[in-house]
Symmetry: C2
Subunit: 95 residues, 2 copies
Amino acid sequence: MFKELDPLLHSQLRLAVISILIGTEEADFVFIREKTASTAGNLSVQIEKLREAGYISVEKSFKGKMPRTTCRITPAGISAFEKYVDALHSYLQPK
Amino acid sequence: MFKELDPLLHSQLRLAVISILIGTEEADFVFIREKTASTAGNLSVQIEKLREAGYISVEKSFKGKMPRTTCRITPAGISAFEKYVDALHSYLQPK
DNA sequence: TAAACCAGTTTATAATATAAACCAAATATT
DNA sequence: AATATTTGGTTTATATTATAAACTGGTTTA
């Protein structure tokens, strides 16, 4: 009846991060922090979890002299998101 | 951009409970435990949290000699669920 | 009458989310 | 030129949560 909800995605901030990355080719740390209105510490932790799980890739580089962290969703991330959305529907459409 | 997800509903088991109650006039503890495939302990805790929040009402009675706990969703529960579903959409439909 | 079962509750524990504190480097201020 | 502030994060600590294990009070079965 009710499908499992991937605990990695069933988190407000991580879901927001994935949602952003699904929509855009890539996004950097600062952009995501602003869009999600999250603290840097929290975001850092959640990005690392998504990276560990293989749902996103993270690339560190420099924009001029300032560091930049760029995130992209991976195929595994896309399919996990699709599966999560599908599972959610088993909770949202009663009966 | 991203709407708040009511933390009381953003929980697999509590969401399942509400989902069941939205669909049926009332449901008892055992029925919910079976439908959600949860342990009695976990369900007991989550039902109490939903009751505290005023999202469901809980009535204790007897079916013959055995105790029975019947749950019903309240108007507050219905509107919280609707709000939650609406907020979720801000995460599911990218852009 | 004792063992097993039912319908839960309470309590303990492990995992999670989150913010606070920190760090190194860059930039702005006096 | 020194000092303060900002930037872009990471690490660590804490409070909350989800969950299962242990328990309770009563019932049915052997």
